[in-house]
Structure formats: structure tokens, C-alpha cells
Symmetry: C2
Subunit: 438 residues, 2 copies
Amino acid sequence: MKKVVIIGASDTGITAALRIRELNKNLRPLVIADNNYPNYSICGIPFYLGGRVEKWQNLAHRTREDLEEAGFDLRLDTRATGIAPEQKLVTVNPNDGEKKKITYDELVLATGARSAVPPIEGIHLPGVFTLRWMDDCLEFEYFLTEEDVEKALIIGGGYVGLEMAEALTNRGLAVTLVEFEDTILNTVAPELRRLVQEKLEAEGIQVVTGTAVEKIAENGGSLRISGSGGFRDEADTVLVSTGAEPATELGREIGIETGKSGAYRVNKRMETSISHIYAGGDCVKTPHLLTGEDTHFAIGTVAHRHGRVIGSNICGYEEEYEGALGTQSLKLFDLVVARTGLTAEEAGEAGYSSVEVEVEVPDHKSYYPPSYDLRVRVVADRETEKLLGAQIAGSVEAEVSKRIDIFATALAAGMYMGSFNRLDLSYTPPLSSPFDPV
Amino acid sequence: MKKVVIIGASDTGITAALRIRELNKNLRPLVIADNNYPNYSICGIPFYLGGRVEKWQNLAHRTREDLEEAGFDLRLDTRATGIAPEQKLVTVNPNDGEKKKITYDELVLATGARSAVPPIEGIHLPGVFTLRWMDDCLEFEYFLTEEDVEKALIIGGGYVGLEMAEALTNRGLAVTLVEFEDTILNTVAPELRRLVQEKLEAEGIQVVTGTAVEKIAENGGSLRISGSGGFRDEADTVLVSTGAEPATELGREIGIETGKSGAYRVNKRMETSISHIYAGGDCVKTPHLLTGEDTHFAIGTVAHRHGRVIGSNICGYEEEYEGALGTQSLKLFDLVVARTGLTAEEAGEAGYSSVEVEVEVPDHKSYYPPSYDLRVRVVADRETEKLLGAQIAGSVEAEVSKRIDIFATALAAGMYMGSFNRLDLSYTPPLSSPFDPV
């Protein structure tokens, strides 16, 4: 019987194990994790910390019992410390036991990413946190509950930084968000970034852009933060949310090929450059569906899909991962911003000469109150009019995130603006308009 | 200068006129309507009668001023009574003036449909209404406001009958709905019809199926209704909502080809069988995008699209109408039901051997409350796995109507289940799941 070892028990690892059990009941994968929280929805952490999810246990995609019933072995609190690909051995080091070597026939690296730690003086002081895994989440929650925390400073204005700004505001904290770049959320068009910044400010969050935090210092129970351009602030806690780096040491040590970001290079079957070693999730590069270029998409949807493709191939079912479109949505208070495909800026970098239009329209017939304005931006190739991307911003009531999926579907089908405009979409006055906003 | 005459001032007629003005400012179309309510959203009537739209004037897509500024001529309260295609003349008969003949170079028939009037004894009694145009709407509203109306009986369990059952319930009336067929809403799968019927009943509406109303009689201020199987009921008003018939007398008199339902046959440029006469909207047949068969889609989205294609072609811009998918959504209280493409039943009639699956899933991660169950049904060709249709039912909070549009987009692109399942759709815990419910 083939022995499958999976390192990592988050989206890719567990999905791969489940897929294997679904396709071949004779295989019993072993899943190793260096923590005690297998199969948690780490995307849900900001919603737990913001009080919208009652118990942290609810963040589990599946309970421990569900996982045990699924028929694979789970070894928690166990770190994989080395691979010997010629002997097909993995060295594992349980927190409460002795190092040992185990054999594999097929190995899956699903080690994800870790929080980037920028070179800021004092970044390891108590009261300074990063957020990626459940351990981080529980430590931060404990600090917020036990200490007298009134004011937070967040470094980084990407998805997680913004979600945490809302979460901490919802907990009643005063929040300052500091971004190194000149604008926050640079994955959407500048016009929508402004909208997001205005929303944050309207909710009482102070947003500081174009500023590098350089130093964090203790100051009699609170933290003093200073940065470029004379930036000075105080806070009871600092959350560092400056992105993630692929966790790929294990593979790099044995010479698995990686891209510039350090993520593993894989083929469409999710195989690395060393045979019998697969990789997927936040630790790999995958092709962009439009440009074909290797891109690092560290997002749950992609990680789940990778796990499935890996499971299928291990069981002998040919399945290829074609690529992603960078489809993402973000809810901030009552505003939703979603994107798919390329922004005008990204299209330019990919060598397209693109044209971008924005329309502002009510989400449905305005005579049926309340209706909400939607801002829809569409990017297309200037010459062929091939659809390249779209972004939508609007009320949480306005079905923004599934409207972006109409574009994602059209992009995957390689549609041109002409056919896209002729789509037969649904209409009922309370929910849409005869020419749908998209 | 080419003279364009458009008969009908609803979705197709006005959209055609606006498109012509957009493409060629030298043309000044003449739009003739037999009523005084040009460019109203007749789909919105149930929402006005149910009290969700404040003033009937709000149902106008555009104000009279907007229409005047658009640069076409509007002759209201004027009936077109005959066409002489060889001389290119239309006879018009204003309500307050004399018949006269006017010339055209291009004629557009956008006369829509009228309410079907089933052969029921007493159907023309006071207190019995049909609903199609604004005149009908205002007459019914006047009756409901001025008379002492406590109980309504609705004949017909299609879209409008169901929307009106909600509307009249919202006004505080007791409502009975009588349907001739064994189930209501036969445009979706039987399983979802049951769900809709349960929703109506939970809201206090009495639903009677498999019953033909045969007679309506006056009974001292109220109406007595009787029908097959010993059906007996009383009501203060009866609303007859048994579908619509294409209004095509004008064209049939001069020999324009029609289909079995009496709707005009048109080509992809929306031209009828007589040259220089276009037709669009509820009075024509158009191809089903999947089966290619001529189908009668009496729905606003299609009518708008027709008007645009007609306008383009009149101005010399080649534009073809490819067909529709029968995409529709219906909101009933807090339930939304949406469909696109073919149901299993329709697929069978079209000669497909189809397979249908239903899944019941939360709309987004259930740890972020509230989440709602969605029922998603997908129909595909058994052999090729080509996607043929989909239906979704779920809470009004669950983005049902834009989720159906993901399927509509995939259908228009001719997708197979394999590629559909690999789509890169958006995910954020409050709004979706890593594998989106669709």
C-alpha cells in the first residue's frame, strides 16, 4: 500500500487528505502539523477577534471528530525538520517526544506561509503581534482580553490589516493604520482605494499613508511608535500585518526549485522539481489564468483547489490546476470591494494596452428602496476588447461579491466585451435592473 | 432624412429610440403609444401595489422631461390601427383627434403583450382585474383604496400571480391563490415549487392547485367563485394572472409571419418577414441560446436587449440578437428563487438526456452568523457533462440572483461541468466559502 505523508494541516493539506480518502479508501494518508489546530479557517481570524464569531472553535472547518472519522492519521504538535528524497524519508520532531524518521511514497508540502517580519526595531517586544495561525490569534485575543488595551496601531493596509482595523474598532479600540505605500489596498484601482480609506476614516480609524514605521519602544506600560517623516504615535498594542512569506525552508534545503519570492515552482499537476514531492497552497507559485505568469496567490480558495488537484493525482486521476484570476472580496463595515483578473496597472505590467471604464449605478431599480450605488470598473484590452479584469465596490446589501464572480466566470471563458454585454442575466426589480449593473 | 416610426413606448420601443439617438443625432424617431404611461417599469407594478414603492410615478424608468430631452417625438394616447407596407404608411388614431396616415422608412413593432383572458364566466364583472399596463395598475389600486376590500382571490400561480400574492398580503388582505396545474411556478423543479408553496402558506396565503376556476358571480357586494372539483370561495376582488398573449394583430393583418403562440418571427437582426419592419419585446419569438428553438420570452431584460439591437441595425450598425437563456429571479417575502437555462423537464423536451443534482449548503462560512441555506440545482447533459441549466433558492440575504448569473455566464460561454467547477470565484468568510456554493 502506497504511503502518503502530508506536511501541513490547513486548507491544502486537509483537502488533499480528504480527496485521497474520497478516491481510494485503501490509502490512509498521514498528516503532520506543527500546531494543534488542524483545518482551521485562518481567513476567519479577524471576524473572531472582532466579535462576529462567538467561539474560536467555530473557526474549524471540521471538528476533530470529523477529521478522525475521515480515515487519515493526524499527528499534531509535530514539526517536520528534514527530507531525504533519495531514501524517501521525512524527519519529524514531536514537541513531546523524540525525533524520528518516517518513510513516504508520495510527499505533500502544504506548509503555507508565515507572517513577514519587517526590519523594525523593537518588533519582538511584548504587545507587538503578527497574525497568521490560530496560535497567533489566541495569543492576541488573550492579550486584548487580559490587558487594559484602548488603542491599537496596525502596520500594513492590505486585506488583513484592513479587516483587523474593522475588528478592533468593533471591539471598541481606537485604531491607527499605518501604510508604507502612498495608498492602502493596492490590489484595486486608486479610485476605489480612496473610497476604502474614506470608509475607514468615517468609522473613526486614523489612516496614515506613505510612512515607514522604524521603531517601537516601551514607554511605561504602553508602546511608543516612530517612523519616517517625523511620524510619532502611542498605542497599547501593535499589530504587524505586512504580508506573508512562503514557508519553504524544508524544500529549499533539498534543492526544490523556487521562484523569486521563495515559493516552490510546481507544474500543473502540482508536482515540485523533485519527483514524488507535491506542493500546494500559500507555499507555491501558480500561473495567472490570463497572463500565464507564475504568481503567488496566498488565498484560501486557491489553496483548497490545490489540495484537491494533489489528491486526485496521487490517486492516479489526472487533474490539472489551470491557474487563478486573483479573485478576492473584502468586507469593511457595510462596504464590499471585490476584484478579479487584472487591474489597469497589472495589465500594463503584463504588457497589455488596456482601457478602463468606471460606471456608478444603482444596484437595482431605485424605485424599490433601499437601493445602493455600485461602482463597477472594467478593464479590457484596447485593441481586441478582450475582458481583462473588473473591480466592484458597493454596499454589503448589493451582492457585490457574487457580481464579481460573473466577471470571473466570463474571464475564465475568455470573453470579449461584446459577448459579455449580451449576457442574459437575471432581473427582478428588488434585486437588479434590466441591464444589470455589471 | 430617414423616418423611423416606433409603435409602443415600453421597454423595447423606448430603448430602440434612445439607441437611435445615441448612434445618429440626425434621426428623430416618432414613438406612438396607445396609453399615457411611456417607459414605465411594468415589472414593478406588484411592488407598487404591495406598498414597497411609494408613488406610482417612481415606476417610470425616465421622467417625461428626460424623454423629451432625449430628442425623439412621443405621441401618446394614440392607437396605431393599420399598416400599409407597400406605401410605407401607418394609420394612427389619437383618442382626442382624427385618424390620419403617417409615412415611415423603418417601422418598429413594439406592441408587447396583453393579459390572457381565460374563458371564465363573469370574468368582466366589476371587481375582477388583470394586470399588465399602468392603466390596469392604477385602476386596481383605486379599487383597493376606495372599496372595502378584505379578501382577494388570485387566479394563476406564475411569477406575477405569486408576486401579487405577496403584495396583497403585505397590504393586509387575506389571499387565496388558485392554480390550474398541479403545482405553482412550473418554470423551476418540482422540489423548489414545493418550497415556494410552503413559503406562501407560512405567510398565511391559501394555495389551491389542480383547480380550474369556471365561474365568478356577484353576491351582494362581494364575488362568489366556483371551479372544478367542487371548488367554492368568496372574495372582494379577483385578480386574473394567467399569462400574456403577444399583441400582434397589426402585423398579422398584413401577413407578417408568426409562430404558434401568435408572436412575430424575426431574424437575428430583429427584422420581421416584411422588409423595413422590425419587431421586438413581448410580441416576438427569439431563439433559446441553448436549444436554438424559437421561444417566447416575455421579460424585461430580453425586451430591452431587443430594443437596442433594433436601434443599432436601423442606424446601420450590424448587431445580432443571439438568444436568451430564460434567466429569471423571483423574490417572495424573504425567499429568492432564480433560474437560468433549462430545467430537467425542459432539457428532456429539448431532446437531452440530462442529469440533475441538488445540493443544500450554507451561503457562506456558517461560523459568521447569520448564514442561510441555499438549495442549488444543476442540470447537465448526461454524456458530455455540458452545463444546461441551474436553479437556486435561498434567503434574500444570500445573493441568490447574482449567483444564478454565474451560471448564466457559464451557459453563454458553453461551459462543461469540469471547467465550471474549477472557476476562481471570490471568497471572504462573511459572504462566501472557499468552494463557493455554486
